[in-house]
Amino acid sequence: MDVPSDLLYSTDHEWARREDGRVRVGITDYAQDSLGDVVYVDLPPVGTEVEASAGFGEVESTKSVSDLFAPVSGKVVEVNESLTDTPELINSDPYGEGWLVVIEPSDPSQLDSLLDAAAYAELTGN
């Protein structure tokens, strides 16, 4: 499984990337592989306030529905609109084109409680 060293990870299998005070969020390679073919993604509109560890959306594969949990609290400032028509980007490029949302964190210190790549790799048995 691919676990890029420059990202932070939640135990709910989301990744977070710091970008100029904002946080880009997606699901990990491990998560997309466990899910299988993603066929639908439900994301909140821009402007939605999300809370760390609370559900903010859903991702559906051919057979199952999974909740998405925010790695940090804050406001959604960008949503990956291309997932509406091509949700399979989550499978093909989970750390790139398959990103979900960008969050403006209300408490950036929450990022400190996320896992680094080594800890996440250990969590997923890599």
Binding site: D12, Y40, E58, T62, K63, S64, V65, D67, F69
Partner: protein, 389 residues
């Protein structure tokens, strides 16, 4: 991310049974899940690719969890016994032919759906894994006094499905068994030899595609399956693809679309009840079923197409309008890779069953617009041959 309403509705519990192909699944890198008490492959490469490969070439499915029983006795006696517990006609079922039917209860509900075939010296039933113990007890109670019922634990089943299945099987089957693979039409049954082993085959399946189901001796199963997988057209396919394929084909899954409280009339399976049986009855629940045939059922199974991209899954309730009182239920639903859109089936009041009727599905608290649609979602490609039989 965490799974909420996943398909883990079969809890992991106790000892799971294994089919004859279990080791091979692990070797092929399958993802295994508990299903009907068995540890079964849900996917190898991915549900979508296995689904699309089956529609374009040939998918190989392990269906060894299903139950096989042989019925021995005078053919006329066995046929009449079958008719006493099922609403299809069997007295004139030709040798080498197969028929879809179901066991019904006294209320007209479906105990299980199954396939009956007539072999040279016996009848054979294949029924669902999740119901086979109940079915066997039921059949023994109903006809055990006049028919010898032998479970065939020495056989296992595999399905080879897709447009090139016939080429693959014709290439591997040697004439020793007697059946000419290419000459067989949909629902024909015969015997061939593969790698020198006699294999019972039927031109049938549950994907909507042309294809074959094979009854293979357990100890020869892995070798035969390896020889099938070695053919360039063939890829292994798991339960995930089997489910999306049968849903697109509008075929019922027992436990979802069929149960003991659902009659064949409501389920739209009257085509499997031949005229004499529809007129004369003589099977469990015939009072209810014949009355529904005369008066029409109050609810019926329909195809359902969400107008958006969001899949509507089983157990979603259906209303005439968003927020309205529930009038029906989705019994199977998901994403159809060939349709490239969400597809579903469910039960609605007869007056709301016309194709094009707009309804609202409750998907985890949010309304989704759906439309009643014709079944199947993908046309069947059965090989029916030139003349009607």
């Amino acid at each position: 991310m965490a799974e909420s309403s996943a398909e883990s509705d079969s809890p992991t519990e106790g000892e799971l049974s294994r089919t004859a192909l279990h080791d091979l699944h692990l070797e092929l890198g399958a993802r295994m899940v508990p299903f009907a008490g068995y540890d079964m492959p849900v996917q190898y490469e991915g549900v979508k690719s296995e689904h699309l490969h089956t529609r374009s070439a040939a998918g190989l499915f392990d269906v060894g969890h299903m139950g096989v029983v042989d019925l021995h006795g005078d053919p006329a006696v066995v046929a009449e016994a079958l008719e006493s517990m099922m609403p299809s006609a069997f007295t004139r079922l030709g040798q080498g032919r197969m028929r879809y039917s179901f066991l019904t209860n006294e209320a007209g509900g479906i105990i299980d759906d199954l396939m009956v075939s007539r072999l040279p010296d016996r009848f054979r039933i294949v029924w669902n894994a999740s119901r086979k113990d109940i079915d066997l007890a039921h059949a023994r109670a109903m006809i055990g006094d006049r028919v010898e019922i032998r479970p065939r634990g020495d056989l296992t089943l595999v399905a080879l499905q897709g447009p090139t299945a016939v080429d693959v099987l014709a290439r591997l089957a040697t004439a020793g068994g007697g059946a000419e693979v290419e000459e067989m039409v949909f629902m024909d049954v015969g015997t061939v030899e593969i790698t020198g082993v006699p294999v019972g085959i039927s031109r049938s399946g549950y994907t909507g595609e042309d294809g074959f189901e094979l009854a293979v001796p357990v100890d020869a199963a892995e070798g035969i399956v390896r020889s099938l997988l070695a053919q360039p057209e063939v890829a292994p396919a798991g339960l995930g693809a089997r489910d999306t394929l049968r849903l697109e084909a509008g075929l019922c899954l027992y436990g979802n679309d069929l149960d003991e409280a659902t009659t064949p009339v409501e389920a739209g399976l009257v085509w499997a009840m031949q005229k004499r049986r529809r007129e004369q009855g003589g099977f469990p629940g015939d009072g209810t079923i014949l009355a529904q045939l005369r008066e029409g059922p109050r609810r019926v199974r329909v195809g359902i197409r969400p107008t958006g991209r969001r899949p509507v899954r089983d157990h979603s309730s259906l209303a005439a309008e968003p927020g309205g009182p529930p009038v029906g239920t989705v019994t199977s639903g998901g994403f159809g890779p060939t349709v490239d859109a969400p597809v579903a089936m469910g039960y609605v009041p007869t007056e709301m069953s016309e194709v094009g009727t707009s309804l609202s599905a409750d998907v985890r608290g949010r309304p989704e617009e759906v439309v009643v649609a014709a079944l199947p979602f993908v046309p069947h490609h059965y090989h029916r041959g030139g003349a009607a039989r």
